[in-house]
Amino acid sequence: MTRDDAARPGLGHLLEGFRRMVPLSLFVIVFGLAFGVAALQQGLSGLETLLMSGLVFAGAAQFATLELWGETIPLVPLVAITLAINARHLLMGAAFYPHLRELPTGRRYASLILLSDANWAMAMNGGTTAARLGILIGGGLALWTTWMIGTGLGVAFGSGIGEPERFGLDAIMGCFLLAMLVGDKRDLWVLLPWGAAAIAALAAMVWLPPNAHVIVGALAGGLVGLMLPSTRNEASP
């Protein structure tokens, strides 16, 4: 396994990223299975369900828009809900941009095709630029593959685990993202923006339309970070 500082990830980096994401990906099968079953019950065909999982690859948005798929499909709510839930990708991509800066344009935008919460969070957690890209792309492939396997199983067998919460499965994604968040942070100053993000997200859940809380919380945290004294890590402005 070579680890160099080159911006271009090699096959080794992709394989390493894939390997590191395998443990979580196995659990993604369960969520894919649940989606497959739910989509069939909504009247989508097996092929349509697989196409949606494969091309959209955004579980939360796929679940949230499921009820729109009927005799007719209203496009405005479909796009609006998809945008609202996936708008967090905009901020995640922006935060990851420094590691994409050196790539040619085509590769840069191709690298983002499989960006999702888990591989982004792991890629933000540290390593060389090539290793991070390996996690974003290779880890994304691991998540996509198991998401498709899960969807396929749900479509094929039409029944899933009845009570995933019974086994603590619903807590997996939260625990994974929290572990990535705590990951390599040693600077207590981050607690200020994070606290602001938590409060803003909760306030948004109470007073703002559904799904706005992630964006509102993230922007609030960013603004507080802007106001902190710049004595740490970077030169003064």
Binding site: P23, L24, S45, L51, M52, L55, V56, A58, T65, W69, G70, E71, I73, L75, V79, L83, N86, H89, L90, L91, G93, A94, A95, Y97, L100, L112, D117, A121, M124, F167, G168, A171, I172, G174, C175, F176, L178, A179, M180, V182, G183, K185, V190, P193, W194, A197, A200, A201, V214, I215, A218, A220, G221, G222, L223, V224, G225, S230, E234, A235
Partner: protein, 104 residues
């Protein structure tokens, strides 16, 4: 604007949903490639990166059941102690499962 759920209609709706999602994945990078990144932008982005996860996790902790809350606490504790994600996540899942087994 509605599409009829003939085969073509469903396929078109799926493509529209996929394109919308990809635009959110690429949009942040598209904008960042066009703004000058000074120390202030960098500070904003750095604080925002963790805040995205905080904003995703907080509702799980606040609106989740006791099992979900204990799972998050166990994950954070093991992560702070060992700095290894796999044991931390395992601890979280086991805690949730055990809590629910005992509590119900």
């Amino acid at each position: 604007m509605t599409l009829t759920a003939t085969n073509g209609g469903v396929l078109l709706a799926i493509l529209i949903m996929a394109l919308t999602t990809y635009l959110t994945r690429a949009g942040g990078v598209f904008v960042m490639a066009r703004v000058p990144i000074g120390p202030r932008v960098e500070r904003f982005i750095n604080a925002m990166a963790g805040s995205v996860l905080v904003a995703v996790i907080t509702p799980m902790a606040v609106h989740g059941d006791g099992g979900a809350r204990m799972a998050l606490i166990a994950t954070a504790a093991v992560m702070l102690a060992l700095r290894k994600p796999l044991p931390a996540i395992t601890a979280g899942i086991l805690t949730a499962a055990l809590w629910r087994l005992v509590a119900s």
